[in-house]
Symmetry: C2
Subunit: 252 residues, 2 copies
Amino acid sequence: MPLSTADRSVLEPAIRRLSALRPLSAEARSSLEYSMLEGLQRAGSGEDLITEGDRVDGVRILLSGWLGRYKTLDDGRRQIVNFVFPGESCDAHAYLLSEMDHSIVALTPVVYAEIKRTRFESLLANNPTLSEAFWCETLLNNAIQREWAINLGRRVALERVAHLFCEIFERLRPVGLVDGHSCLMPVTQMDLADATGLSVVHLNRTLQELRAAKLIVLRERTLTIPDLDALKNAALYSPSYLGIYRATEAVR
Amino acid sequence: MPLSTADRSVLEPAIRRLSALRPLSAEARSSLEYSMLEGLQRAGSGEDLITEGDRVDGVRILLSGWLGRYKTLDDGRRQIVNFVFPGESCDAHAYLLSEMDHSIVALTPVVYAEIKRTRFESLLANNPTLSEAFWCETLLNNAIQREWAINLGRRVALERVAHLFCEIFERLRPVGLVDGHSCLMPVTQMDLADATGLSVVHLNRTLQELRAAKLIVLRERTLTIPDLDALKNAALYSPSYLGIYRATEAVR
DNA sequence: CGTACACTTGAGAAATTTCAAATATAGTGG
DNA sequence: CCACTATATTTGAAATTTCTCAAGTGTACG
């Protein structure tokens, strides 16, 4: 469903994030803003934005809420293979491949901008700097996906959940969604379980362990990390995969 | 160490694979060949081609042997997050990010072509079709990486190893490295364990299970899959993530 | 021939899952 | 606003998977 009344401030996360990846010219920025404002959309929690096997015909840029990229096995097992946070896009360039290899679901109510393929392509053709920013995003995604592999393959439950929380913090920070030591945690424990490859029951117990160790406070849909370094320590966190964000952090 | 005598046939896997991703113009093909022939290199088994934290300054295209992309945790745990097979490139465009987020090791003796950044960039600039092929490769890598996430997060040991073998088959096929029902399996069980997130001991037992079920034959560094569909079944394999290869398969 | 490395086996320990049920919490219609 | 219902979180206990440790057997290579 299209949004009618929209002021430009809803676009802020997208602009902020792309600028963090590559400095955008004023011109690139304004034509992007124009294209986004034309395609504002909402989706409700639980709604699939796109399903494995679909063909893609454009790009969506998330403006608020959380999305989950997921894959399922025939017997229903589900793995969230990545989150999409405000400012991040999904499917940029995906039309270069034949079809979607995964699905994307709204884990919360979301607002996003949809830009059709032809529009998007001309936007990139006219703004090399923008094109580079989107490609950078693809590369960054790749790096994040690799980190998820070691997270799922080699970290034990506690480290794994701790690591996810660290990553969420670092990815929300550049778009201004970390407030002091806290951020919103709007998803269910089931979602977190599917993202960490754990059962809900064990995820729940792991959260309690993290709470008992005073590494996190999690209540009323808010995650607080009193001491991020301590949590990173528990997670065996290594920062190199989000390297491109580091400049951003310094600027804060 | 540079290779001296080199005939053009060593380049075949690379040309074959890129052509599978995007049809290459004769011109693109020959300038790529020329650039590759100039930068032929070898590395011995166990040698790191590049290490996490390094800056990248070019692209390498693997011509023979297997590479492993891996990450490690401080206490030594290692996860191979992906393999690189002949014809695949590593680090294409990686110089757009600040530094390597992972390391790449030669799991066998390898031959590869190295193209320096400036050379590579002008190659892409002059051959849009080539540029698209390389970007396609990046997107495909992304899809593979997502599949690894569900493999590590949601498949049990037997399914996981079975799935890895199916994937290896499907990725080796387009470059002509599958011979009937067999392909080379030149890596150690330790490497396979690190790729599937299992301990060596458990990987070994899982292989025995697969053998007992007649799903694989594995001896003398050769993997035979008598009935690929049966193995895919056991792996809960879903083909959508290697979709772009499907045209290739049909052509065979 | 020896030494290092790769593979295999056994057995107990640990992590994680499953099943089942109890308690919260949130959303909905009256 | 409340009662009702569905969903989300939490708890207990047993079953299962996977890991660790330790040792034995092969195999390749100098």
